[in-house]
């Protein structure tokens, strides 16, 4: 369909003037993109250098291009703070468990849906896709989780958001495209059951899909905070994001060295508090940023496949 419209070729112009204007165009877009890169990268860079600088220098605006008064005090505080460490540990646990559950559900469900000989395939897909456009909303969802007795348990963090329709459709398209029908028919003639074919052939062929899904869910679960906000009550079950919200947004630095209560240590806590803010941003984002190089390649393919195939 793209070719139909694109076939209306533009009126020819003099080739030479075209080439000169192309060079100007390229130079302008290189400039524009450089500005965009700076605008995106600088805030991140600033936070990194501010996290190792003297808080007073940061407050006075002396830290712009390089750290000033190098210190690791912020990180020392972060790695000795029980709340942050517990949040970190909880996040690791929730993320690992939730990703594993999501991947199992999506790969097995996606494979079944990819089979054209699955009776009722169209109806089932339709019922799944409807949920993209209409859902019960926040309140009924909360009440269902409550009814199931999942409130304030680890299950509320790993099950209610396990499967996204979008990812399921990506998995379905993946199996549809990568596993030839002839292969399955041949296996069937040789007497392989559906289970056997799925575990012995489909799953091993789907390594890249599994890796992609695992990484998508790791990122999503690591960054999630809203479910924790509504489903968890105990502070010691909070994932990192909720701990960060208290520190960064509500400026709740009460845990940080305010035990003695005299003014000097309070001022000290305030000072370190700013450092801790920058440091926690770095510490909590690093595990996810480290995944980007692996994700980028797979992701474009997957996202496009999902977007177009639906």
């Amino acid at each position: 369909m793209a070719t139909a419209t694109a076939a209306r070729t533009p009126r020819p112009r003099q080739p030479l003037s075209g080439r000169v204007s192309d060079r100007a165009f390229n130079r302008a877009s290189v400039l524009l993109m450089s500005v965009a890169i700076l605008a995106v990268a600088y805030p991140i860079y600033f936070i990194v250098i501010a996290s190792v600088s003297d808080p007073n220098a940061v407050q006075n605006g002396q830290v712009l291009l390089a750290p000033s008064g190098f210190t690791l005090e912020g990180y020392e505080r972060i790695f000795s703070d029980p709340t942050i460490l517990r949040g970190f540990g909880n996040s690791v646990l929730y993320t690992a468990l939730a990703s594993a559950i999501s991947v199992v559900l999506i790969v097995s469900g996606g494979y079944a849906l990819s089979r054209r000989d699955l009776p009722g395939r169209r109806t089932i897909t339709f019922l799944l896709v409807i949920t993209l456009f209409f859902d019960g909303g926040m309140i009924p969802r909360y009440l269902v989780v409550k009814e199931l007795g999942m409130l304030n348990t680890i299950w509320a963090m790993v099950i209610p958001a396990a499967v996204g329709v979008w990812n399921l459709l990506i998995a379905r398209s993946f199996f549809d495209v990568t596993i030839p029908h002839e292969l399955r028919e041949a296996a069937q003639l040789d007497g392989a059951s559906d289970f056997r074919f799925f575990f012995r052939i489909a799953v091993p062929l789907a390594t890249s899909l599994i890796v992609l899904m695992a990484m998508i869910h790791q990122v999503a679960n690591w960054n999630a905070f809203f479910d924790a906000l509504i489903f968890l009550n105990d502070a010691d079950k909070y994932p990192l994001q909720l701990v960060l919200r208290n520190i960064l947004i509500q400026s709740d630095l009460s845990q940080l060295g305010a035990t003695t209560g005299d003014i000097e240590s309070y001022a000290q806590a305030q000072r370190v508090g700013e450092l801790v803010k920058y440091g926690t941003i770095v510490v909590s984002t690093l595990p996810v940023i480290a995944l980007i190089p692996f994700l980028q390649k797979h992701f474009t393919k997957g996202a496009l496949l999902g977007a177009v195939k639906s």
Binding site: A2, T5, T9, P10, P12, Q14, S21, D22, N26, S29, V30, L32, I37, V40, A41, P43, Q59, L105, S108, G109, Y111, A112, L113, R115, L118, P119, I124, L127, F133, F134, G136, G137, M138, I139, P140, R141, Y142, L143, V144, A162, D194, F195, F198, N223, F226, Q241, L244, R245, I249, E274, K277, I281, S284, I292, Q296, T300, L304, A307, V308, S310
Partner: protein, 306 residues
């Protein structure tokens, strides 16, 4: 004859039992976490009482809707939600398309990769952290932005306490965070365009701009329209988690949107039925917009492509 057909169908279903076993967990998940809440939406028309459950609580008809429509908050909530949603569509949606069209024309492959990777990175930063970054940068006393403002002779602004700054912060951070991510999707679509079209256009003397206009834009139009329809269908669900995090008691007059209100009335004050009604109102408008735009897009494509 019908009987034998039913029998045949039944045999096919039975033969595929292993596939149904593989599918069962997903179906169970959707039944419990998607369809059960849909069934639970009926509490919007009842006075929900936990001990009676979704279907046992007494009916009250449209009382909750009437209360919401006549509440003094209604106009404010609807305006704030719509303004934010429309700004999102007008600003956040087109920028990645423009970026992708420009990046796609870049001559240097290495520079292209740098641009992609850098612009893509913020998509992996959580909402909490993005809002945290805003708090740090825009803090009235120690924030970098206010340092720059005082440096050029202005007076510092308390961005998070000024209702007028909520929307720029929200939309601006949205562009910062998501533009690169969406750009990559459009770039993938651009990569799918037949290169011979570009070569033909070049031979015909088309400039870079003309090639964008006549080759690239028509080429990614299907992807653009799918994503646009989905964005419209999500119009009123504008990333409300970010709105919630950016909300302070002082900027409520612009930051209070329908979804944040549902959260506060429903979960913080336990008015389950009332806020379920508001949520349902929100979903229905969304659905209506989605269907309308889908219909428009289909008509539009029919008349323009064929």
């Amino acid at each position: 004859m019908t009987r034998s057909r039913t029998a045949l169908r039944l045999r096919r279903v039975l033969r595929a039992w292993q596939l149904y076993v593989l599918l069962a967990p997903v179906l169970l998940y959707f039944a419990v976490f998607k369809y059960w809440p849909m069934y639970g939406v009926q509490i919007a028309f009842r006075d929900y009482n936990p001990s009676d459950g979704f279907s046992g609580s007494p009916w009250v008809g449209l009382a909750h809707f009437e209360r919401f429509f006549s509440s003094f908050q209604f106009d404010l909530l609807l305006t704030n939600t719509l303004v934010l949603a429309v700004l999102n569509l007008l600003v956040v949606f087109p920028i990645p398309i423009l970026l992708a069209l420009l990046v796609n024309q870049l001559v240097s492959q290495r520079f292209r990769n740098v641009v992609q990777t850098v612009l893509y990175a913020p998509a992996f930063i959580s909402t909490v952290i993005v809002v945290g970054i805003i708090y740090v940068f825009f803090s009235p006393r120690s924030g970098l932005v206010n340092h720059v403002i005082s440096l050029v002779g202005g007076t510092p602004i308390n961005f998070l306490a000024e209702p007028g700054w909520f929307r720029p912060l929200y939309i601006g951070s949205g562009v910062w965070q998501d533009a690169g991510f969406s750009m990559v999707i459009y770039l993938a679509a651009l990569a799918g365009i037949d290169p011979s079209l570009h070569e033909a256009a070049k031979i015909d003397g088309a400039s870079a701009l003309q090639r964008i206009r006549h080759v690239d834009v028509p080429g990614i139009l299907p992807v653009v329209s799918i994503l646009f329809i989905l964005a419209v269908g999500n119009l009123l669900n504008v990333g409300f988690e970010k709105a919630l995090l950016l909300q302070t008691p002082l900027n409520m007059s612009t930051s209070q949107i329908i979804q944040t209100y549902v959260y506060q009335a429903g979960l913080q004050q336990a008015q389950f039925s009332y806020s379920a009604a508001i949520g349902l109102f929100n979903s229905l408008i969304n659905l209506g917009l989605l269907l309308t735009f889908n219909w428009v897009a289909r008509r539009f494509q029919q008349s323009s492509v064929i």
